[in-house]
């Protein structure tokens, strides 16, 4: 039930060894997992790694054949905990999620896993959602690797390097009994490129072996005194082992260059953009040959002291390029240089910004200053770097901002229209939002939602406002969450908590058939059958099960009147305890992807199909746009009125309309104007319908002719002027 089908990509997972695989970075990782003989894979979907989960979900037959177990986990914590299978058994496991948010959720399990250590290779693939295009708080995963002593790989954004990192990651994990994180930035995940495949491998040791011959080792369990020994082991055994492995297998790269008194230390992920910056300055060619020596850290953590010393010895100055804050690498390099008595000058955040994307332009600037200071001869003949002054000021004032918003026909829109109307009646309320499409409510036209504290935490982030009952407040708080967040943890952290603590707040749960925002993956309350999962577990049963008495399920969110009255009742009732409103309608984006081709096929095969869309009478529309302030639907747009007496643009429904009916409903509910109408056409009608339509058309034609005659008696312009 995912947003898109991966049937084509799945076929690529089966190609024989030696084939050139073309595709996205994240698909290359998926293929590499199978080549590495992984025994089980789990994770939680989210940009930019959703496709890894979706491809594996579509690849179930191939996985069955190879003996690989796959499951979409309930949360990142659940996925991380699943890696415990690699603690006692030599089975390779991989998990994936969006980071740092997913790593935050998983970090309890990860910390325990890292403490006891692993026997089988444990690979944690994190989609580093940082910089342009990111949808979350700007943090780096690096800190998690450091605090728990897990190793962090950051390969070059190049498919063969990414694939190699998967193989290296498992080997490193096994050689050091330590879980390994593999970090892929957004652009690397979506990177189209190619690599040459190896043979897929069945896991050498299977989970069947594990179940039938269970093992335990007291020294791997995180309880004193073992936990104290784990800490010692990390420092004394695993860390040196990792450094040895990195050096012996050449995971990092040192590239010599003619300007050998200088050097650049950078994360693997920064390589391409840094080389481009060097090329712009005339210091590198298109094939990555650089005049400045490079030390490329495909392993971001741990640093290898010996390699650092080798690279820096004899150098006057080194520039370290690491995105984000704080400057972990810079600090670490300083300490290594000082410890080994090297006086190489170290630059980093003094030339580069502390935060934000390191674009090619940013790196170019830093490199220019670095070279100007330490090797002015580099620019003896001036290097023209075309750096146009962006015409930002001139153009910016002409351009309207375009934040993401709810899709055409989105079932969440009417919920916020109802809330907007309710605010007009009952005044503004404190609204805690969650993660998911519903968060677009914070943008115009709705402007609803004050905070977002994490996935599934919408309900619990309204907890403090339960003080209202104690303090005699006249209003309740409203908390919103989606079905994805609800099953991720919201049921317990939010709803059960609200029951237990006798919250009087209103909890709106948006139930759009599956986890829509992450790409339409199934969850327990999905309403479709899934051959591999158990679905159709209603949210209402779950909330009643944890003790909520007041529940209203609205089975069609587009019914703004019903939506508004349920919310109104919830906010005004004297009934004690949490009030839960479950708003159900299927995600329109996914529904259309399924239904559009099906409808076209049905029409083609002669089935009777009714197609609908909405329209606006330009002559009736007032041009006030009140409907847009309650809707924001992309297909509800503007057009010139065509009437010289009406200077403002009028509403128009464009061809993308899916006839969800929302604009008509709000025109009704908010008593806006009578310009909306729904029109339908019956494809392949029955003979009776055809006969009746013919009769109607004739009668209406006769009436129209009569009426037009009367109107013509008052007409100034001839028909041709109209």
């Amino acid at each position: 039930m995912a947003e898109r089908s991966f049937a084509r990509e799945v076929q690529q997972l089966k190609v024989p060894a030696g084939t050139t695989f073309r595709g996205e970075g994240i698909l290359a990782v998926t293929k590499a997992l199978l080549e590495a003989g992984v025994g089980y894979v789990t994770g939680y979907q989210g940009s930019p790694i959703s496709h890894l989960m979706d491809v594996l979900a579509d690849a179930q037959p191939i996985l069955n054949e190879l003996g690989v177990y796959f499951e979409p986990a309930a949360s990142e914590a659940a996925a991380a905990a699943a890696l415990s299978a690699s603690v006692n058994y030599p089975v390779r496991g991989a998990v994936t999620w969006k980071s740092t948010v997913g790593t935050n959720v998983a970090s309890d399990a990860l910390a325990n896993l890292a403490s006891g250590g692993v026997t089988g290779g444990a690979l944690i693939i994190v989609g580093e959602d940082y910089g342009e295009g990111s949808s979350i708080m700007q943090e780096r995963t690096h800190a998690f690797a450091m605090k728990s002593q897990m190793w962090l790989l950051d390969p070059k954004p190049h498919l063969p390097s990414i694939v190699k990192a998967v193989h290296d990651g498992f080997a490193l994990s096994e050689a050091t009994n330590t879980p390994v994180m593999l970090e892929l930035r957004i652009r690397s995940c979506h990177l189209h490129g190619s690599f040459v495949t190896r043979e897929n491998r069945r896991p050498q040791f299977t989970l069947k072996d594990a179940l039938e011959h269970p093992r335990r080792d007291l020294s791997r369990i995180v309880l004193p005194p073992a936990s104290f020994l784990h800490e010692k082991e990390k420092a004394e055994k695993r860390w040196p082992a990792a450094q040895r492995f990195i050096v012996e297998h050449g995971l990092n790269e040192i590239r010599e260059g003619e300007l050998d008194h200088l050097g650049i230390v950078m994360l693997g992920g920064m390589t391409n953009n840094t080389l481009r910056a060097l090329r712009r300055l005339g210091q590198a060619d298109l094939f990555g040959t650089s005049r400045v020596p490079l030390y490329i850290l495909n392993v971001a953590y741990p640093l290898v002291d010996a390699e650092v010393v080798r690279f820096c010895t004899g150098k006057r100055a080194v520039l370290v390029i690491e995105e984000g804050q704080p400057d972990y690498h810079e600090q670490h390099l300083h300490s290594i240089l000082r410890r080994h008595g090297l006086d190489t000058r170290l630059h980093g955040k003094d030339l580069l910004p502390m935060g934000g994307d390191y674009t090619v332009a940013t790196i170019t600037q830093a490199l220019r200053r670095f070279l100007e200071t330490h090797h002015p001869a580099a620019f003896a003949t001036p290097v023209p770097v075309s750096m146009p002054a962006p015409r930002a000021a001139e153009v910016a004032r002409l351009l309207p901002p375009r934040p993401p918003g709810l899709c055409v026909g989105c079932p969440e829109r009417p919920i916020f229209s109802a809330m907007t109307l309710l605010e007009r009646e009952l005044g503004a309320h404190h609204v805690s939002a969650d993660i998911g499409c519903h968060l677009f409510s914070i943008m115009p036209p709705f402007g609803i939602g004050a905070t977002t504290m994490g996935y599934g935490l919408g309900a619990s982030s309204a907890s403090a406002f339960a003080a209202g009952a104690q303090l005699g407040a006249s209003k309740k708080a409203i908390a919103i969450m989606g079905d994805g967040g609800f099953w991720h943890n919201g049921l317990t952290s939010g709803i059960a908590n609200a029951v237990f603590n006798r919250h009087d707040n209103l909890f709106v749960i948006v139930d759009n058939n599956y986890s829509a925002a992450t790409g339409g993956q199934d969850i327990p309350s999905s309403r479709a059958d899934n051959a591999n999962r158990s679905t159709k577990h209603p949210i209402e049963a779950a909330v009643r099960g944890v003790g909520v008495d007041w529940v209203r399920t609205i089975t069609r969110t587009y019914d703004v009147t019903a939506m508004r009255s349920a919310l109104h009742e919830a906010l005004t009732t004297k009934s004690p305890g949490p009030k839960v409103v479950i708003a159900q309608s299927e995600c329109m984006l996914n529904r259309q992807r399924r239904e559009k081709p099906a409808t076209a096929k049905a029409i083609g095969s002669g089935e009777r199909v009714v197609k609908e869309r909405f329209g606006v009478d330009a002559a009736v529309c007032s041009g006030d746009h009140a409907c847009m302030r309650l809707s924001g639907c992309p297909s509800l747009t503007l057009a010139p009125s065509g009437d010289p007496l009406k200077p403002d643009p009028v509403a128009r429904v464009d061809e993308h309309c899916v006839a969800c009916g929302h604009c008509g409903e709000i025109a009704d509910e908010a008593v806006l104007c009578p310009s909306f109408y729904k029109v339908h056409k019956v494809h392949n009608p029955t003979p009776f319908e055809r006969w009746r339509a013919g009769l109607r058309a004739r009668l209406l034609g006769w009436l129209h002719a009569r009426e037009d005659q009367a109107r013509d008696r008052r007409a100034l312009y001839g028909p041709e002027a109209n």
């Binding site: 940009s47 342009e132 190049h158 652009r187 979506h190 189209h192 994307d357 674009t359 090619v360 170019t364 146009p388 930002a392 153009v395 002409l398 351009l399 309207p400 901002p401 375009r402 993401p404 918003g405 677009f440 115009p444 036209p445 197609k611 869309r613 009478d617 009736v620 007032s622 006030d624 009140a626 992309p634 509800l636 747009t637 503007l638 009125s641 065509g642 009437d643 010289p644 009406k646 200077p647 403002d648 643009p649 061809e655 009704d668 908010a670 806006l672 009578p674 909306f676 109408y677 029109v679 339908h680 109607r696 058309a697 129209h704 009426e707 008052r714 007409a715 100034l716 312009y717 002027a721």
Partner: protein, 504 residues
């Protein structure tokens, strides 16, 4: 460094749902098929939900045995081809420095997809497309711009096909047209339609035609006043316009006359000209023509206010049926239907009742609340059935009694007070202020709450106009208040402006 292989950097700016990814896949396929190395990446994130998305590609000619290292993001100054799937996104590319006059071929669709911020303004919040096109012309080495959206739709295809065609026709890539066509044929989906859209766009790009933004003017021009009225009944009124009013105002008077007569009857046309007449001031010379034109426009608007009678009439016309058939892609003999969304409230119903009836109901709280409850829901009328049509015609037929209904009395009183005020100001020699008083009528529009809010703002402006009397800048000040009142629904801009003019 010299002797480097041919290397092209391409950025694509698209909106979520426009198929930017498909276009990128096609370009990759085009290059790889020719043996080139292609790298593509994007930052989609949440932008798939209608926000702006940026894709980036690098293509390098065959370099046997050597692997080029390519960047992951477009670099200002280093973009060879920029493809923008919407006009403002093309502007955004310029803003980001991704279009430079020495290097970039800019391929843009000139159509607009309005942003929410533009749509929610109560007046006209649309961005200035022509100004953006001007910027684009000087920003790029070469600009290929056309309405790629409409072009694609005409062929039953999508914008990625027409943009791909424009890329082919622009000559910006070292591949021949058949190679582009082969890509579409290989894609296997909607090939015929996509090829047709692609070819037309390619021809257009190759022809280097100058593109004017297709955005139709928001303010429609008045039609020329006909010498002969279509209906002989109106000829006397047309003759009167020509005889009594200055020529620059004729076309506007024609539009106004046509509107009010269509709205009510011929006699109403005479009333209309009588009302405009005092705003023709020959003593002001040519300066007074603006005053006459504004009076002609806004008196017509005020006299043909929106009521259920008018709505029912507009929704039952033959021309309207033809229009909805077109919208759903139906022929005259197809089986279609339409549901009209009506929600008349007590005020609207009382409005069409004869004054004394309405007043009587208004005196009985019990009757009023009973009626209110009956009306507290929306009504759906199937206008394309005989029954629905007749229901609506019944309402439209109330036109005959309109002059005696309550709403009409209220509107007349309001109209007269407004015109009296404008005359008074004019009489005192403040013609500029009088013009703006007339133009303020633009604020009153719509039905129910919208109408109430507009009327409230209008009243505000009239009070402000009184405060402004005698000030040299009174006209300009009132105009600025009107613009402010149309900026937002909450009235923040208006409040700020009133404060700035020390009128509160």
């Amino acid at each position: 460094m010299t002797g480097e292989p041919k290397h092209l950097c391409i950025a694509v700016m698209a909106l979520g749902g426009q198929g930017g990814g498909v276009l990128v896949d096609w370009i990759v396929d085009l290059a790889e098929h020719a043996g080139w190395t292609a790298q593509a990446t994007s930052v989609a994130g949440v932008a798939q939900r209608t926000g702006a998305t940026i894709y980036y590609l690098e293509l390098v000619e065959p370099t046997p045995g050597r692997v080029p290292v390519m960047a992951l993001m477009p670099v200002p100054g280093d973009v060879d081809v920029l493809i923008a799937a919407e006009l403002m996104e093309a502007g955004r590319a310029v803003e980001r420095g991704l279009v430079t006059p020495d290097r970039t071929v800019l391929i843009a669709s000139g159509h607009r997809t309005y942003a929410v911020q533009e749509k929610i303004v109560p007046g006209n919040g649309l961005a200035d497309g022509a100004a953006v096109v001007d910027v684009l012309r000087s920003a790029a080495r070469r600009l290929v711009i056309a309405d790629m959206q409409s072009l694609a739709v005409t062929h039953g295809s999508v914008i990625s096909a027409s943009l791909f065609g424009a890329l082919a026709g622009s000559g910006a890539l070292p591949f021949e047209r058949p190679a582009f066509e082969a890509v579409i044929e290989r894609s296997g989906v909607g090939v015929t339609a996509s090829l047709a859209a692609m070819r037309e766009a390619a021809d257009l790009a190759a022809s280097r035609q100058r593109f004017e933004p297709a955005e139709p003017a928001l303010q429609a021009e008045p039609r020329p006043l006909p010498a002969q009225a279509s209906s002989p009944a109106l000829q006397a009124l047309v003759d009167r316009i020509r005889a009594e009013f200055p020529a620059p105002a004729w076309d506007w008077l024609g539009e106004g006359l046509a509107r009010v007569v269509d709205w009510q009857d011929t006699a109403y046309g005479t009333e209309y000209l009588d009302r405009v007449a005092p705003f023709h001031r020959p003593d002001l010379g040519a300066d007074g023509h603006g005053l006459t034109i504004e009076a002609a426009r806004w008196i017509a608007v005020a006299m043909s206010y929106d009521d259920v009678i008018r709505v029912a009439d507009l929704k039952t016309r033959a021309s309207r049926r033809a229009r909805i058939l077109g919208e759903i892609g139906a022929r005259a003999d197809d089986v279609i239907g339409a549901e009209e969304y009506f929600h008349p409230r007590l005020a609207e119903v009382m409005g069409v009742l004869p004054r004394h009836w309405a007043d009587r109901i208004g005196r009985s709280a019990l009757l009023e609340s009973w009626l209110s409850a009956r009306l507290a829901r929306g009504r759906r009328i199937a206008s394309q059935t005989v029954r629905g049509h007749l229901q609506l015609r019944l309402v439209a037929g109330l036109r005959r009694w309109r002059r005696g209904n309550r709403r009409h009395a209220e509107e007349q009183a309001h109209l007269e007070a407004w015109l009296r005020f404008a005359q008074e100001v004019l009489h005192d020699g403040e013609a500029a202020l009088a013009v703006e008083i007339l133009r303020s009528r633009r604020l009153i529009k719509g039905y129910s709450d919208t109408h109430a809010r507009g009327s409230g703002r209008f009243d505000h402006l009239m009070r402000a106009a009184r405060g402004l009397r005698g000030r040299a800048d009174a006209g300009a000040a009132l105009a600025s208040l009107r613009e402010a009142a149309l900026k937002d629904a909450e009235g923040r801009a208006l409040a700020d402006r009133l404060k700035a003019l020390s009128l509160v």
